[in-house]
């Protein structure tokens, strides 16, 4: 068996990889140089062939997204890189930005060239101070070298990168809320259409991509879209960052080929549950519906997770063992989503609060049996009826918990207390 291919983590563990000389000594900026020697349309074509599915959660093909930019719009275009990483259980972009910020800069230069953007904004979650410092450092070094600025690599194609630090709202990771926040407005999602590709940052055509998505671009440019596609499964190419946290023996972050099984990740790489028994896996960040142990023997890809009734999300799984109370876990999630709802649309603003109230009461032992049904109905009616996918993300995991652990929910009501004896942290 050959060495597994490392794309975005190839400089992990390398001393001072965030310094430009170290980065370049390991072949850095070759992808960007090559990109700028290609026709931009050819780069987009390679991206399409790569079947690089967005790593931010929605899993949309990056090449296809780039192709949505209107051709005849006279306005400037922008590239916005989403480094807000607020999804509970997710910690991959932070590691990527901290360890290899130049790969991000290189990816941005390549993506700007392909999309015709001269200005890129990197929106970084406020708490990720080190990541932000590293990205800022990389930008400064690249600028000093002339890789950014008026003529990157001698090509008359000015590129500027600005970083913007988020203020701590989870919703600002949603691309249109992010754009509002970037513009200095309240971080509230915008209704689509129009899509950012047509009306994005400052009213101009904009591509929004996740940090990891962008960091894959130089490799695709260097080795071709087909090669990238071949690393993964059909329609979902490359490697991706998989994370593990929660009640698991070996939590961590791994770059693995797309298609690695979820069970392999949890049971082999992660060493299985911390306790005696696996209770469930939240596969891709807190918004993705929990899977029961018998449901995890599937390839961890966008499409197969969807087929299993859950979602790929960010690829960072949270493991639950038998010590975890499902009601408490759900209640904890509900509290997060209630708190983070931007408050713009009614189902999410009010529904998340209601769901949280019911769950908190249930966990505290003051719930009623009939309220489990109210909970399910309240959560379900949020789904599909909101402005942005936050509403779905808030409701889906609750519905999954309440359905898959229905008895446990009812028992909380009949016992008038948490069978796990859990104190409830409200």
């Amino acid at each position: 068996m050959t060495e597994p291919v490392k794309i975005v983590t190839r400089n992990f563990g390398v001393d001072r990889a965030w310094e430009i000389d170290v980065y370049e000594s390991r072949g850095g900026y070759e992808g960007a140089k090559k990109a700028l020697s290609m026709e931009p349309a050819k780069v987009v074509e390679e991206m399409k062939a790569a079947n690089l599915r967005g790593r931010g959660g929605a899993g949309f093909s990056a090449g296809v997204k780039w192709g949505f930019l209107p051709r005849d719009n006279p306005k400037p275009r922008y590239l916005v890189v989403n480094g807000d990483e607020g999804e509970p259980g997710t910690f991959k972009d932070r590691a990527l930005m901290q360890n290899d910020p130049h790969l991000l800069v290189e990816g941005i230069i390549s993506a700007c060239w392909a999309t015709g953007a001269h200005t890129a904004y990197v929106y970084i979650r406020g708490e990720l101070k080190l990541a932000w410092q590293r990205v800022e450092g990389a930008i400064a070094q690249a600028k000093a070298k002339g890789y950014l600025g008026k003529r990157p690599f001698g090509v008359d194609f000015p590129v500027e990168i600005h970083t913007h630090r988020g203020g701590g709202a989870y919703i600002c990771g949603e691309e249109t809320a992010l754009l509002n926040s970037l513009e200095g407005k309240r971080g509230e999602p915008r209704l689509k259409p129009p899509f950012p590709a047509v009306v994005g940052a400052f009213g101009c055509p904009t591509v929004v991509n996740n940090v990891e998505t962008i960091m894959n671009v130089p490799w695709i440019v260097l080795f071709g879209g087909e090669a990238f596609h071949a690393l993964g499964v059909k329609g979902d190419g490359g490697t991706r960052m998989y994370g593990l946290s929660g009640r698991v023996k070996r939590p961590g972050l791994h770059e693995l080929p797309v298609g690695t099984k979820l069970s392999t990740l949890v049971l082999e790489i992660g060493g299985g549950p911390l306790g005696n028994e696996l209770k469930g896996v939240i596969p891709g960040g807190s918004s993705t519906p929990v899977l029961l142990p018998h449901e995890i023997d599937i390839p961890f890809t966008v499409d197969s997770l969807k087929a299993a009734g859950s979602m790929m999300g960010t690829g960072c799984a949270i493991v639950l063992d038998e010590t975890v109370c499902a009601v408490r876990a759900a209640s904890n999630l509900a509290r997060f989503y209630w708190h983070e709802s931007c408050g713009q649309c009614t189902p999410c603003r009010e529904g998340t609060g209601w769901v949280h109230n019911i769950l908190a009461n249930l966990e505290a032992g003051s719930g009623k049996v009939e309220e489990v049904a109210v909970l399910l109905s309240a959560a379900k009616s949020i789904m599909g009826n909101t402005i942005c996918p936050f509403g779905d993300g808030a409701a889906m995991p609750i519905v999954a918990f309440a359905q898959k652990f229905h008895d446990e929910f009812l028992r909380h009501a009949t016992l008038k207390k948490c069978p796990y004896g859990g104190r409830f942290a409200a």
């Binding site: 915008r190 129009p194 400052f202 009213g203 983070e340 931007c342 009614t346 009010e350 109210v374």
Partner: protein, 893 residues
């Protein structure tokens, strides 16, 4: 074009959204965040319907009606079970935190949330948790804040900030604790804050003035009325109960004010209840004990030697009655010589053309604007609100080009961003908040003569045959000319505010010259001082100065003064001299003032709310206001009835219709005036139109403390309205509806039922008739610019006095409303930054001021940025009379 709603075909305009179409077609579909003036944002999720791909699609998908264009052939269902369930759920969600305190809520009975709750069918409460609570804020004398009732529809901020440009109301917080308010307690800064009361679908923002003498909507008597607090003539719905006026609401007009009002118009009404009301006749300062008989009145003045002084705040009919009584030779307009001349010039310009004056709603659709010399935001606030919309017109086109319809508010605002269409402002003063300045492409602060010269230079740049002006402004005239010439609907705004004839003429020249390239003159709006300035001037008559002169010459021995405090219009000494000489002075007014206190006979006039009549607004639109209530004093009568009584001929004009007929016969310009209203004998299926809603209670018992018998409703000879809740249930002419109400729609949003297309004309047509139409295609008769060297050398060290208008405090009647008085400035003297620096005076320092060598006034200084050097500003209103063009000296104390 048609769409299918629940299997039935409905005509639809593809430029609109489905919600708009459903409501226009009289279908019930609940909504919150959509507002016809504010467009759609799709946030509340209340307007869900099922939309089907085609007639084979049976599953369909849920969609927000307000976000879905009414494309030809669209199939949708309002009745679909899933859609109904979602709409019910939305109410259920909103009720999780809404306090349900309807019985103690001022919105109750006219609450959109109540209506939508019933409409959406949410019946059973499934929650038992605590509701979130907020701290309320003090927002000033007009608007009360009760945040717990908020349903987070965002309409308040969308109106206040996005539509009206206010800066001090925002959204705070997140999740189910989103807060709408100010950063801290304080008076709302916007002059349009009162609209929040109507824009908010629930009882968060309520009318504080109504709260002090509260009644429910259904217990009010109302009638279509017109605002008396500036010249724009916004339509209003005053509400009365038990002899006092309780509130004013905006009355929709598709041609004038749309949905809104400014706060002067909304809150000025309390002058009607003022303690300064004249409620009975006074003869030589003594209250006349018994009824003043016509014969006694007729004796009170000696026929033939009496002159009449009319008023720009009295109705057309009252002015005419006085003119008819004293004869045109002896009739004088109640305005200063300067003011009379300015208004006469404006009328000439508007009649002779070729520029046409647009309605306020048409102003919103203009796309390049030049404001010359008028502080619009202070003298005609709603015009400023309209201009705020017109600067959006050009940038908005980018959205249309992207296929984003105009009603999709969020997306359009994204595309528009900070871009603004051309707006140039040249004036000596700006409103204190400088709210239009911030929208302007360029602002020029200069003395009125220079403002005029700039205008003439623009005219010359547009049309070389217009006379050249002294070039003082570099490339600016060419820039302005380019913007106007390049626009689809250019507009020039000016008015009497600068007190300069040259400014008015310059504005006309620009509008005319804009026709050189386009073949059609630009639109032209003039702001005039008062609610009936144009109407009174169209009656004719000379100025106040000539009345004074006639008195001085001894040609007359007495005067009848109609609704006019002469001390506001002429120097005190002149008025004193006039009144001293007059042997007998009859004053007919509703307010006691200094002139009234000098009357030998003071007769109590009805206000706009107690009488019917006509005002002509700045557009030349004659609009009828109908009597709202019968005053409790039988002595209070419309001025024109007193005038008839003075004549000893009470039956000269038995009612308003007869008076109008006489007027129309005598002055052809008023030929159509009757069409502004309806004849008194108009009936709907034989019945009068009730002034109260069918639910009104207490009419038969309201006087039971005094009189056990059921009172007879008073007669109204002047209109088809009844002082009752009985009568025709529905009026086919929407402009005659005293209130908006429809089954299931108790709030002001019932308005959707009153026009064929929402936002368009009222059913049966918008109210008012335009009396002034320019002669089409008349060749422009350009005015000549003032020449620099023609101006007299000003006395050394003297400053030009300019009047500073305030939204609150400058207008006579509204200043008597307690809330308005609270916000009105105290007398002060304003200097520009440079002038103040040069003279070494600072903010609040007291200085001595003498106008034209008159008596010394001691006033505190206010530094007013932008006031040009060589000028001094005095607040109109708080400082009683400032003749245009006066010069003042100021000295440090």
């Amino acid at each position: 074009m048609a769409i299918w709603i629940d299997g039935r075909r409905h005509e639809a305009d593809p430029e609109r959204n489905i919600l708009d179409v459903c409501l226009s077609r009289g279908l019930d579909l609940p909504y919150f965040c959509w507002h016809p003036a504010l467009g759609s944002v799709g946030a509340c999720r209340q307007c869900a319907v099922k939309v089907f791909k085609d007639d084979k699609d049976t599953r369909g998908r849920l969609a927000m009606a307000c976000m879905t264009p009414a494309k030809d052939g669209t199939r949708l269902s309002i009745d679909d079970a899933e859609a109904r369930e979602l709409r019910r759920s939305v109410i259920e969600w909103l009720m999780l935190n809404h306090p349900h305190d309807c019985p103690v809520c001022d919105e109750g009975g006219e609450c959109h949330l109540q209506d939508m709750t019933v409409m959406a069918g949410h019946l059973v409460r499934r929650t038992r948790f605590e509701k979130r609570t907020f701290r309320n804020q003090y927002l000033g004398p007009f608007v009360r804040h009760e945040m717990n009732r908020c349903i987070q529809c965002y309409r308040c901020v969308r109106f206040y900030a996005d539509h009206a440009g206010g800066k001090d109301l925002g959204v705070f917080g997140a999740h189910d604790a989103v807060y709408f308010g100010r950063h801290a307690d304080g008076v709302l800064e916007s002059a349009f804050a009162g609209n929040l009361v109507e824009v908010c679908p629930t009882g968060v923002f309520t009318d504080r003035t109504l709260g002090r003498h509260y009644v429910r909507k259904w217990d009010l008597q109302t009638a279509p009325s017109v605002c008396v607090h500036c010249s724009l003539g916004c339509n209003t719905t005053p509400g009365e109960r038990a002899g006092s006026l309780r509130r004013i609401r905006a009355r929709y007009s598709g041609a004038v004010n749309g949905w809104f009002l400014c706060d002067r118009g909304r809150y000025g009404y309390e002058f009607v209840n003022s303690e300064r009301r004249v409620r009975r006749p006074f003869v030589r300062g003594e209250a006349a004990t018994s009824e003043v008989t016509p014969a006694a009145l007729a004796r009170a003045w000696s026929k033939g030697r009496v002159l009449g002084i009319g008023s720009p705040r009295a109705s057309v009919e009252s002015n005419y009655a006085l003119a008819a009584l004293v004869g045109p030779e002896r009739f004088h307009q109640g305005t200063s010589a300067a003011q009379t001349a300015l208004v006469a010039t404006i009328i000439r310009i508007l009649r002779e053309g070729p520029a046409r004056t647009p309605s306020l709603r048409e102003v919103e659709r203009c796309d390049a604007v030049l404001v010359l010399g008028e502080d619009v935001a202070s003298t005609a606030p709603m015009l400023a609100l309209a201009l705020r919309q017109s600067v959006r017109r050009q940038p908005e086109r980018a959205a249309l080009e992207l296929g984003i319809p105009g009603w999709q508010d969020g997306a359009v605002r994204e595309v528009v961003g900070n871009r603004k269409g051309p707006l140039f402002i040249a004036a000596s003063v700006a409103n204190e908040a400088r709210e239009l300045d911030e929208l302007a492409t360029r602002t020029v602060r200069a003395a009125p003569e220079d403002v005029a010269r700039l205008g003439f230079a623009v005219a010359h740049a547009l049309d070389a045959s217009a006379p050249e002006a002294d070039g003082l402004f570099g490339r600016l005239p060419a820039q302005i000319a380019g913007a106007l010439a390049g626009a689809e609907r250019p507009l020039v705004v000016s008015g009497t505010g600068a007190g300069s004839e040259a400014v008015i003429q310059a504005a006309a020249s620009v509008a005319w010259a804009a026709g050189a390239g386009r073949g059609r003159a630009a639109e032209l709006v003039y702001v005039v001082p008062e609610c009936n300035s144009l109407g009174a001037a169209l009656i004719g008559g000379r100025s106040l100065a000539e009345a004074f002169a006639a008195m001085e010459r001894g040609e007359v021995t007495g005067a009848i003064i109609l609704e006019n405090d002469l001390y506001r219009r002429a120097p005190e000494a002149d008025v004193d001299a006039f009144l001293d000489r007059a042997g007998h002075v009859v004053v007919i007014d509703h307010l006691a003032h200094d002139t009234a206190s000098r009357a030998s006979t003071l007769l109590p006039a009805a206000t706009f709310a107690e009488s019917s009549g006509t005002f002509v607004n700045n557009e030349g639109r004659a609009q009828r206001f109908f009597q709202v209530f019968d005053p409790d004093s039988t002595d209070i009568r419309p001025s024109w009835r007193w005038i008839a009584a003075l004549d000893g001929a009470t039956d000269r004009w038995p009612n308003l219709d007869e008076l109008q007929a006489a007027l129309a016969r005598e002055l052809p310009i008023f030929g159509e005036i009757a069409a502004a209203g309806v004849p008194a004998e108009y009936r709907v299926r034989g019945a009068r139109i009730p002034r109260a809603l069918h639910r009104q209670s207490g009419r038969t018992a309201i006087t039971a403390n005094r009189e056990l018998h059921e009172p007879r409703p008073p007669e109204d000879p002047d209109s088809p309205f009844a002082f009752s809740m009985e009568g025709a249930p529905r009026v086919p002419l929407a402009r005659l509806a005293p209130e908006v109400w429809a089954p299931g729609w108790n709030s002001c949003q019932a308005l959707n039922r009153f026009s064929a297309e929402i936002g368009g004309a009222l059913l049966g047509g918008d109210p008012g008739v335009r009396l002034l139409e320019p002669i089409e295609g008349a060749p422009p008769a350009y005015f000549s610019p003032p020449r620099v060297d023609s101006l007299p050398e000003p006395p050394p060290d003297s400053l030009l006095v300019v009047a500073l208008h305030h939204v609150f405090g400058s207008e006579e009647l509204s200043a008597l409303a307690p809330g308005v008085a609270e916000l009105a400035p105290k007398p002060y003297v304003a200097l520009g930054e440079e002038e103040a620096l040069e003279r070494g005076v600072s903010e609040r320092e007291e200085v001595d001021l003498s106008i034209d060598g008159g008596p010394i006034l001691t006033l505190p200084v206010r530094i007013r940025p932008g006031l040009p050097r060589g000028a001094v500003g005095l607040p109109a209103g708080p400082v009683r009379f400032v003749p245009a063009g006066s010069r003042a000296r100021i000295s440090k104390r």
